[in-house]
């Protein structure tokens, strides 16, 4: 079974030292990503989902950021123990990443073609000419109209959607086995969003990639993920396959998230949102980090952090008084 696990994260802790002290951005996160699957990583901003992803790429801001504990096993090698040279061979090669801000993620002073070719040449010893040919190929793959011309355009000459496609083209140019997509659609208008998501789906099939989809948008999750990890304040709250998660959310936070989406059928004008805000991640915290916002919180929640346990088959949750099967479901 382990063979079909591509990425396995165990007890990952990532710290940032700031002028105001240590921030534990990721605090003991564990999950697996199987080959060929799309795993959703969900949470509000500040939940540590992006840092988790960056930890996989080892791209967190240095020198302030540091992985202090845990392991990230990719394709059998522990990334946390890799030296920089090996890391370079993985980044952009077997693990590629696309980002939230297509407008700013491309270097304004270079042409698209050059930037893609650069990525390719970083991993393969080939002539610039060939690299540009491959770049052209990948532009075609992501369905950019008139790719020959686009090779020579600058980012500022392209729309957001186009740029995101270009980013994707860059990402897939080295045929990665894992694609990490960090909120790839948030910055785009709704119509484009759909197209991009669809494109990612198609590419996944075509190239047989696995995808780690980071988002705060449950709609996106429902649409394309096979399984979901719900993160809150640097910890995993709930972790299940998409179907059962939506059918039967066990963590009060997950429920909160779901309720905060407008229920189209009932045309609820009032948009429900979870009271309170994500706690500061400064220093160590005792107890459950969601407690202060949780309507089910009891004394134990404040004293001890809940363990991860498998409440149902393949459905993990960390909560002292979780919503048991049956009494869950959306609010009436």
């Amino acid at each position: 079974m382990a063979g079909d696990v591509l990425l396995s994260i165990r007890g990952l802790k990532t710290h940032f030292s700031t002028p105001n002290g240590i921030v534990t951005a990721v605090d003991g996160v564990s999950f697996d990503l199987k080959r060929g699957e799309t795993l959703g990583l969900v949470g509000e901003s500040g939940s540590g989902k992006t840092v988790t992803a960056l930890s996989v790429m080892r791209l967190y801001a240095k020198p302030q950021g540091r992985i202090v504990a845990g392991e990230i096993v990719f394709d059998g090698q522990d990334i946390t123990k890799m030296d920089d040279r090996d890391m370079h061979t993985i980044r952009g090669n077997s693990i590629a990443m696309i980002f939230q801000e297509p407008m700013t993620s491309l270097n304004p002073v270079y042409t698209i073609g050059r930037q893609i070719a650069e990525a390719i040449q970083a991993h393969r010893k080939i002539k610039t000419k060939e690299a540009w040919d491959i770049a052209l190929e990948s532009l075609k793959k992501v369905g950019i109209p008139d790719p020959e011309r686009r090779l020579y355009s600058f980012p500022y000459e392209m729309s957001g959607g186009m740029r995101q496609r270009a980013m994707i083209a860059m990402a897939i140019s080295c045929k990665p086995t894992l694609l990490i997509a960090d909120e790839p659609t948030t910055a785009l208008d709704v119509t484009i969003q759909a197209q991009i998501l669809q494109l990612i789906g198609e590419l996944k099939e075509k190239l047989g990639m696995s995808i780690l989809m980071i988002t705060h948008d449950l709609a996106v999750v429902a649409e394309i993920t096979d399984r979901v990890v719900v993160m809150y304040a640097g910890r995993v709250a709930e972790y299940a396959d998409t179907v059962s998660l939506f059918a039967d959310p066990m963590h009060p936070y997950t429920r909160g998230l779901m309720d905060s989406i407008t229920d189209i059928e009932k045309e609820t004008k009032q948009l429900y949102s979870i009271p309170g805000t994500v706690p500061s991640l400064l220093g160590e915290t005792v107890g459950c980090r969601f407690a202060n916002r949780c309507d089910r919180a009891t004394s134990v929640c404040l004293e001890k952090a809940p363990e991860m346990l498998e409440a149902a088959k393949g459905h993990w949750v960390s909560c002292w008084n979780r919503l048991g099967t049956g009494n869950g479901g959306a609010r009436k």
Binding site: T18, P19, G48, T50, Y60, A61
Partner: protein, 280 residues
């Protein structure tokens, strides 16, 4: 301020800088009490005495006590540099804000800046000095002009940016008067870069004035000033090195301290230097 102190902790040298400046201020304020002798007291018999008892820092070519002149010189130096700072900052902000805020003025402003940049401040110093004779005000004006252009440019640039900011537009829409916008909403955003610029202005104007003194275009020689001491000393480099070294060190230390402090201030105030964490 809190952040500044925090920063200080991480930069040991900067603390030394602050300490030195503190001492300087004390010297300046209590000069008459601290200085053992009249800084102008001419004593032909005891000329060019090396540092020793009676004169810790020795005497100069007039037989004046160098330590006493250093003490009183600290006044001159602080006052004149402060003058330059006040002149360049106040005017700089005013011109920069207005030129940057009102579109009509942009082009004209750039032209004027062109001209000012092209006009060597040295010439201005010369002209002022030849017309009015050597004097504190002339020096401040002459040196101030150079920094005026710099500060103005900074303020101008920032204002151009800021007024495009959404929230400013919003206030505009809400019908806030230009005056109000400038003073209440744009100006506050300028303070930190301007303060930083000010510290560097203070530091480098001190050097510039020393250069003017060296060219005999600076402060009048009957006012004790480090720059004059230094330039008088330059002739005696071989004969009485302390005449050059002592004021020299005071100037270097002061300038250095200000630069270090300015550096900390910038790193602390300028957001782009703050440790910011991607993704969190």
């Amino acid at each position: 301020m809190y952040g500044f102190l925090k920063m200080l902790r991480s930069r040991k040298i900067a603390i030394a800088g602050v300490a030195f400046l503190g001492i300087l201020v004390i010297l300046a304020i209590f000069a008459p009490l601290i200085a053992p002798l009249d800084p102008q007291g001419i004593d032909p018999v005891n000329r060019l005495l090396p540092p020793g008892k009676g004169h810790i820092f020795g005497t100069d070519n007039f037989g004046r006590d160098i330590w006493s002149r250093i003490v009183f010189g600290s006044r001159t130096s602080i006052v004149s540099s402060l003058g330059v700072v006040i002149f360049s900052v106040t005017l700089g902000i005013a011109i920069g804000l207005i030129a940057g805020y009102f579109k009509a003025l942009n082009a004209l402003f750039m032209r004027i800046i062109d001209v000012m940049m092209a006009f060597p401040s040295l010439l201005l110093a010369l002209v002022l000095m030849t017309i009015f004779g050597r004097g504190l005000v002339n020096v401040i004006l002459a040196v101030g002009i150079t920094y005026l252009t710099r500060t103005t440019r900074i303020v101008y640039g920032m204002t151009l940016k800021l007024k495009e900011e959404v929230y400013i537009e919003a206030f505009k829409a809400a019908g806030a008067s230009n005056m109000r916008l400038l003073i209440r909403h744009i100006f506050p955003n300028l303070t930190s870069p301007v303060i930083v610029q000010a510290t560097f202005t203070f530091a480098f104007s001190l050097l510039d004035m020393a250069s003017l003194d060296f060219l005999g275009l600076g402060l009048p020689p009957d006012i004790p000033s480090w720059g004059n001491m230094l330039s008088e000393g330059s002739i005696y480099l071989a004969r009485a090195p302390w005449m050059l070294l002592i004021p020299g060190f005071f100037i270097v230390l002061t300038v250095l301290s200000f630069n270090l402090v300015g550096d900390v201030l910038r790193d602390q105030m300028d957001p782009r230097f703050r440790h910011d964490i991607k993704g969190v």
